[in-house]
């Protein structure tokens, strides 16, 4: 970390017209909203704390969405840099900070999908390509490995909805906010995803 950032332990924060002083020692124990306010003022300590708190969750979501470690790491990096630059646009109270973070991550992921294959979108029926077999290497007998594999074969939009609600712990309404959809559309995606997963796992347990 830059020496100047370390020396600047007290930041003068201006967010949404409000001005306040935030000391870095306070941000370590602050909630996510306080962290983002401090980040908007250039507080590197607060930023480090936010990365420590949410880095794993964002990375896990992106890894399961993209299926490749390098893409997931790049997108996680981009997500947090976007947060660093745009923390001032976060509106506390409108959505949770983690919802806002996941929304940024999700949108960056869609953009990267489009760049990689312009015809592809989260509405595609097609499953993710199998360019990098992260999970095939694991024994298919293990429940987790089978589940990871089954997840990867879901269409992108169904996988995103299921990951957000079942793995990342968001409510259906929060997932709708992240995906930019109506709650009913998310519920429909979840229904199709759960049905597909169940059928797939049952057929593996009881092959014809």
């Amino acid at each position: 970390m830059a020496a100047s950032a370390i020396a600047d332990a007290t930041a003068d924060v201006h967010v949404l017209g409000r001005s306040r002083q935030v000391t870095s020692t306070a941000t370590a124990s602050g909630n996510d909203d306080q962290l983002l306010l401090a980040i908007a003022g250039g507080d590197h300590y607060a930023f480090t704390e936010l990365v420590n708190r949410h880095g794993d969750a964002v990375h896990g979501y992106l890894l399961r969405l993209t299926g490749t470690r390098s893409d997931a790491e790049d997108l996680t990096q981009e997500t947090f840099l976007r947060v660093w630059r745009k923390a001032g646009s976060y509106e506390p109270g409108r959505v949770r900070a983690s919802t806002w973070l996941h929304r940024i991550a999700h949108n960056l992921c869609i953009d990267s999908f489009r760049r990689a294959r312009p015809e592809r979108s989260l509405d595609d029926i097609e499953a993710l390509g199998s360019d990098e077999d992260l999970y095939r290497a694991q024994a298919a007998r293990e429940t987790v490995a089978r589940l990871e594999l089954a997840l990867r074969e879901l269409p992108d939009n169904q996988r995103a909805a299921l990951l957000l609600c079942q793995v990342q712990g968001f409510s259906n309404a929060e997932a709708a906010e992240i995906l930019g959809l109506k709650v009913r559309a998310v519920e429909s995606l979840l229904a199709r995803a759960r049905r597909s997963l169940r059928k797939r796992l049952q057929s593996e347990e009881h092959p014809p």
């Binding site: 949404l16 017209g17 964002v58 399961r64 790491e73 996680t76 840099l81 001032g88 079942q166």
Partner: protein, 142 residues
Amino acid sequence: MSNDPLQELEAGLDRWGGELARWPAAEARSARALLERSPAARALQEQALELERDLTSLRPEPLPELAKAQILERAAREARPEAPAAARGPVARLWRGALAACLPLLAGYLVGASSAYNDDARYADAVSELVFTASFEETIDD
């Protein structure tokens, strides 16, 4: 929606999951009643809950330390984050104040100019009507 209560329950489990607390209140009430009397319904719910347990037990995928360090390093290299336009320090606030003070003046000028134009236009209309009427009367007199 199907009339078969088991199919309805299955559709609900797919849509809202196995935890009835996440269901809408009315649907959760019907589901609870069905679950009390039907072993098949309970088996369906257990199946849904098992899938959810498996999903929540997926191993965490921590962000590698190197990637974390790169994020922090890149942020440290960048200048202070963009402050919202509304909060860029005292000079910006001064300009905002000056602009706010000028707005009523500008609005007054525009309203005045517009009504003056309308008055002129009405006057021109009236004059042209008089001229037209007079010339028309002259024509008749002729």
